[in-house]
């Protein structure tokens, strides 16, 4: 590598089809250590699919995908993942700390019980997201924002070098969202964790991320925080107004 920073994600010429229809078309993306990518795009544009490819859950039809230079499956234990809207039974009998412990599964492995180190790591992860005092609370007794933090802690507890977050703020109110993005910023800057944040709210994320990509089958990405008006229009397939040089950046949908 010419660049000194470590390549975390390397995707080249990726194609994924589902039942004959292309979901991802010729997607290429690379991320270096410490990048914070905001991945936007319309619903059904393949954002979740792209994350799943990065986790090795979906096999590409064509193209190359390397995470830390490894096959996605082999790299999985170094990746933290927060799925889109974790649907769970709000009265499920489980404490926050035990939810976080699940994130140690890739490290502990099948059939082996969690050890003291796993428990300590879970406490630390909860501390990192500011939830230390609520560790022994039932998950259903926490607010939406607090639950999101628990799920981030679960993604963090395996001490990942790459964090994949699929619309983590869905169903969280505005004040909690801001707090949440600040938390991600700290994780990114202090711990140097590379983050991919899927969202459809560009306005909200653009002041936190350092790169933005827009996905609708094809990926519009220039390795920077800039997207052109054409990119956005092509991706969303409808006229959108982009205020390119304001901070925060805005993408405005035209009202019909």
């Amino acid at each position: 590598m010419i660049d000194s920073a470590k390549v975390i994600v390397f995707i080249k010429g990726l194609w994924v089809t589902r039942e004959g229809h292309p979901v991802l078309e010729n997607v290429s993306l690379d991320l270096k250590e410490g990048d914070f990518l905001g991945l936007i795009g319309p619903n059904g544009g393949g954002k979740s699919t792209l994350l799943k490819v990065m986790l090795g859950l979906i096999k590409p039809d064509r193209g190359e995908v390397k995470i830390f230079g490894l096959e996605p499956k082999a790299a999985r234990s170094r990746v933290g993942y927060m799925p889109q809207k974790t649907l769970f039974d709000q009265s499920f009998p489980i404490k926050a700390i035990d939810v976080v412990l699940m994130g140690r599964y890739p490290r502990t492995g099948f059939l082996r019980p969690y050890g003291q180190a796993d428990r300590e790591a879970s406490r630390r992860a909860l501390e990192a997201v500011g939830m230390k005092d609520l560790a022994d609370r039932e998950i259903g007794a926490l607010s939406g924002g607090e639950q999101q933090r628990v799920f981030v802690a679960r993604a963090l507890v395996s001490e990942p070098e790459l964090l994949l977050l699929d619309e983590p703020t869905a169903g969280v109110d505005a004040a909690q969202q801001t707090e949440f993005y600040d938390l991600l910023c700290r994780l990114n800057r202090k711990l140097g964790i590379t983050i991919v944040l899927v969202s459809h709210d560009v306005t909200a994320i653009s002041q936190y991320v350092n790169k933005i990509a827009c996905l609708n089958q094809r990926l519009y990405y220039h390795g920077s925080k800039e997207l052109t008006a054409e990119d956005i229009e092509k991706a969303y397939g409808c006229p959108v107004e982009l205020i390119a040089h304001g901070t925060p950046h805005r993408v405005l949908r035209k009202h019909d």
């Binding site: 859950l57 499956k73 499920f92 009998p93 939810v99 099948f110």
Partner: protein, 268 residues
């Protein structure tokens, strides 16, 4: 105070009944919780009904009906999983088909055999007093296997029950675990058929867990509470049915549902 007629347990068949009932309570307590948490109540009921196909076949061939019941329940568990994952058939449709097919096969096989009516009644509504020594051994063996599996895979089953999507992303063999869970449900259900009959199996599988869950918070605690409740229902049901000379299966279930309604009305 009525004195408990504990002398009834001097009879071998009563001791067998009690042993089978208590082992079944342990199974219910543990597996029932997973059935509730994974929302597979309908599948479990489907498996119970489909097991009747195997029971009927065993009965017809003059071999151990319970062992055949276990086999057909396992086949059903696997079948429901496969049909609904491969074909364009939703899971509850697959369950409906397996349920009815198993029942029809069971009735067909039994009607081809002698002594049909009385034994049919026993399988449908339970006949805990007809539990034999070999039944008790089979029940104890199944209970031990289930307990060992749950103990070893506790953390895996917790992820499966709470958040399978995440589990899959973490490399947890979600499909295999779900199948294993269904197999354990299948084994438990067949044991319960002996106690309360096919029709009422699902009540005994879910009521102790449901009550326990209303009251307790930690999963191991809920399991223990559920085992205890199940044992009480079986014990009380047996004695009441003996005193009033009414069917044991129905008495056990009514004891359990009475407790459930009281617990629900009493609130938290």
């Amino acid at each position: 105070m009525i004195e408990l007629p504990l002398d009834i347990f001097q009879y071998e068949f009563m001791r067998s009944a009690l042993a089978a009932g208590l082992a079944a309570s342990v199974l219910c307590g543990v597996i029932g919780i997973y059935v509730i948490l994974n929302r597979i109540v309908f599948i479990s009921d489907g498996i119970a009904h489909a097991a009747f196909g195997g029971i009927g076949l065993g009965y017809f061939l003059g071999l151990d009906p319970l062992a055949f019941g276990v086999c057909s329940a396992l086949v059903t568990a696997a079948g429901i999983g496969m049909v609904s994952s491969r074909q364009r058939v939703s899971e509850d449709t697959a369950i409906g088909v397996f349920l009815a097919t198993g029942m029809a096969l069971g009735i067909m096989f039994m009607s081809l055999s002698k002594g049909y009516a009385r034994d049919l009644y026993g399988y449908l509504f339970g006949d805990i007093l007809a539990v034999t020594r070999s039944d008790v051994l089979l029940i104890l063996a199944l209970t031990s296997v289930v307990l060992i599996v749950v103990y070893l895979l506790y953390k895996e089953f917790l992820i499966l029950s709470f958040d399978p999507v995440y589990g899959e992303a973490m490399g947890l063999p979600v499909q295999s675990l779900r199948l294993l869970l269904l197999c354990m449900v299948a084994s438990s259900v067949v044991v319960l058929i002996k106690i309360v009959g096919i029709i009422m199996v699902i009540a005994l599988l879910t009521i102790p867990g449901a009550i326990s869950r209303q009251r307790l918070k930690s999963l191991p605690g809920i399991m223990a509470g559920s085992v205890l409740l199940g044992s009480i229902f079986v014990f009380v049901g047996l004695i009441v049915s003996y005193l009033l000379d009414v069917p044991s299966g129905a008495t056990i279930i009514l004891t359990a549902s009475l407790a459930f309604f009281i617990s629900t009305l009493a609130g938290r």
